[in-house]
Symmetry: C2
């Protein structure tokens, strides 16, 4: 089955290709994002709309960064913080809390005419005191995966892709698609 990844982000499409080890077809639709408490709900709603417009099997991605001290927020809203307030401010917004733990999430919502699948990849870590590194994209410079002291942006693409929330989500989606195909 050929799947199209719906994303406006070059970086996300590139990472998906690297992780899957194959070129991936891509569509860039202007999809409205709803406000919802979780990244899953945002992605599922986007996939429904993407399928309605494309009329073929597609995957949409949404990612988020949750702070333990904020009970999972900014979560799906992190990109607005990134753009408006900047990464430095995101780091400082945790300075009043002893707890800097964070969870990075990637949700891949698959939709075809007969099937709807939601694969989630998560990785635990913490928020740096200040942004560090020049690799990656988005909030990579402030997220330090558990078990090390470097941010995603201080790693090579291969290092990041070996452990990332996005890698885990794609692996999970592949597993789900395989099970579905076998079951048909």
């Amino acid at each position: 089955m050929r799947i199209v990844l719906v994303t406006g982000s070059d970086a996300k499409a590139r990472e998906a290709s690297e992780i899957l080890g194959t070129e991936i077809e891509r569509a860039d639709l202007e999809l409205p994002e709803i406000q919802a408490a979780t990244v899953e709900d945002v992605a599922r709603e986007k996939a429904r709309e993407a399928f309605r417009r494309l009329e073929r099997a597609c995957v949409v991605e949404d990612s988020g960064l949750g702070f333990a001290a904020w009970n999972g927020l900014p979560g799906p809203y992190v990109k607005w913080f990134e753009r408006a307030a900047g990464l430095e401010a995101l780091c400082r917004s945790l300075d009043g809390f002893p707890d800097r733990r964070s969870t990075a999430s990637c949700v891949l919502a698959f939709r075809s005419e007969t099937q709807q699948l939601t694969a989630v990849g998560r990785i635990e870590g913490s928020i740096a005191r200040a942004p560090r590194g020049s690799g990656g994209f988005g909030w990579d410079a402030i997220f330090v995966p558990e078990g090390g002291d470097r941010t995603f942006a201080e790693m090579s693409a291969a290092e990041k892709n070996a452990i990332s929330h996005r890698r885990k989500a794609w692996e999970e989606l592949r597993r789900m698609l395989r099970l579905w195909q076998e079951g048909r």
Copy 2:
């Protein structure tokens, strides 16, 4: 012209009645909220959808609380922070910044078959070190309007309604509706 206010919030409907000095008709629709950078965009999109469903002139309200240190965020997303992280955490998230200035906004988006109006009311203030007071609703306990040292939640309903962002927005909408009616 009879207008219906579309809101799921008893508190917002009550304040609107108090401010306008008249009973206000109310509809409670489950409207999806889009993600957008500003409260205005969120409200306009909701009004479009409300009019489509109700097929009569209607007003939807959206309010937000922006922090200067975060360049206007959490803004339209403040309610998610309120619910997930709580008011205490919102206060503490500014502890790493010298600047606690904040702007409270209320947007009223009016939509009829032939007209679309957006009235905005804003009030400047700051974010308290910790929540205070038991009046009001939402984030009233952390917002201290400029020129005083009490939060909205430490004021009587009449005191709050005399100066609030919601009062300003309703006055602006009334003015706009009057001009439009006169011009027809």
